[in-house]
Assembly symmetry: C4
């Protein structure tokens, strides 16, 4: 099949991020398959590698700017926002934050959260708001 070309938009906004605590309430639940996390998932349908920049906003401090690892052509990438990000390994602290993803080519971006602080997981997902100007 022929490639689709680069679908989506260059800028995606996620207002409601919240890093859940690493330790679940019930330690027996912590295993390799289910652990609390937030993941930013980005699809590059284009034929060139994309180099995303992630801006992280907070309620009471200056925003951060992080270079994410590149996404090859026709691949999906998953960035765990509860783990160190970028070449400097920056760790977003627990609590409220917002994200703006910026790429040099159109992509489509979605975020998902899995929370296992209680005996059963709860999770949700949301497509970013496309805000290319």
């Amino acid at each position: 099949m022929s490639a689709l070309g680069a679908l989506g938009q260059r800028i995606w906004v996620f207002p409601d991020g919240d890093i859940p605590p690493h330790d679940p309430y019930d330690p027996a639940l912590k295993n390799s398959e289910t652990h609390g996390h937030e993941s930013l998932v980005v699809l590059n349908t284009g034929s060139t590698t994309v180099n995303p920049i992630l801006r992280v906003y907070f309620p009471e401090r200056e925003p951060w700017c992080i270079k994410l690892s590149p996404i090859p052509p026709e691949r999906v990438a998953c960035y765990r926002t509860d783990e160190p990000l970028g070449p400097e390994g920056r760790q977003i602290p627990e609590g409220q934050y917002a994200l703006v993803l910026e790429c040099e080519m159109p992509v489509v971006a979605q975020i998902g959260r899995m929370d296992i602080r209680q005996p059963n997981l709860a999770y949700y997902t949301v497509m970013g708001f496309p805000a290319s100007t």
Copy 2:
């Protein structure tokens, strides 16, 4: 890094709000980390402070209009809709309501609900509908 400028839209609509009861079914669950709530999260990526106006609609009464606390440049703000809002401390009653957020500059707004009325939390999130005219 340079600021991104004001991303998003000036008006955001959230049809489905529902204040969950404050008291969980299992009182042992109520603690500082998990409590039932609905939060309106607003990201201001611009370089000026934003002063949001929140309109609250109900099934059977006239809408309210509430001034929210301002959002500084490049900050994310979280408004708990189950707590008193605005300078008059207006409390949205339990039950169905809808929100329209209006700002003088573009922002991006999302709402999330966490429900702990039963032994395990359930939650969801949704991006607002951007309705600037």
Copy 3:
């Protein structure tokens, strides 16, 4: 305050509806505050009454067309899709269905599902896809 005018769009599409069984797995959970349901929530910010038409699509039968009760100006309305709808009291059967809401004036529409077939509720919500032509 002055009215905002009619925000939103005239046509909203919801592909993924699924009526959950009325009876929970654990009968002790059935009470006035939590019961399985799907709700279509529609906000009319305009200054005139809106008369919505709901089209219901199925995997293997002809679509239905149902007149919903009108929404007064500046009010939010909630239609339970698991209960009889419209003047003829049509009951959507259990299983897969899709909805298209059509109004004569712009509105904003969102659907939510609460499922209590197991000991703890699970729910989600999604904004409709605005498809006015």
Copy 4:
């Protein structure tokens, strides 16, 4: 009633797919009504049959291209992404994947996930990102 015509867009993007394991943690939960799955739901409101093409993207391999079964006029179709897809019965492996749905006529597409790996189900849904060029 008269048909609405083909509502929606021709291309829909879903970045965050993740096939959950077939086996629940608690085997007692596996029954005909609740089982872990991801479903792509597509509504064709038009008056002609639609023949969808599904492209599946992965983190580290070439994308797949799968012909889905056609959707008759004015019908909703549900494709289980955890089951064999298309005439060749291709099975998406467990783990991260992304989808792009392409149709010759406008449709509206949404994905939902139900996870029962723990004693209580968790699920979510998201409308696709409409990316017609």
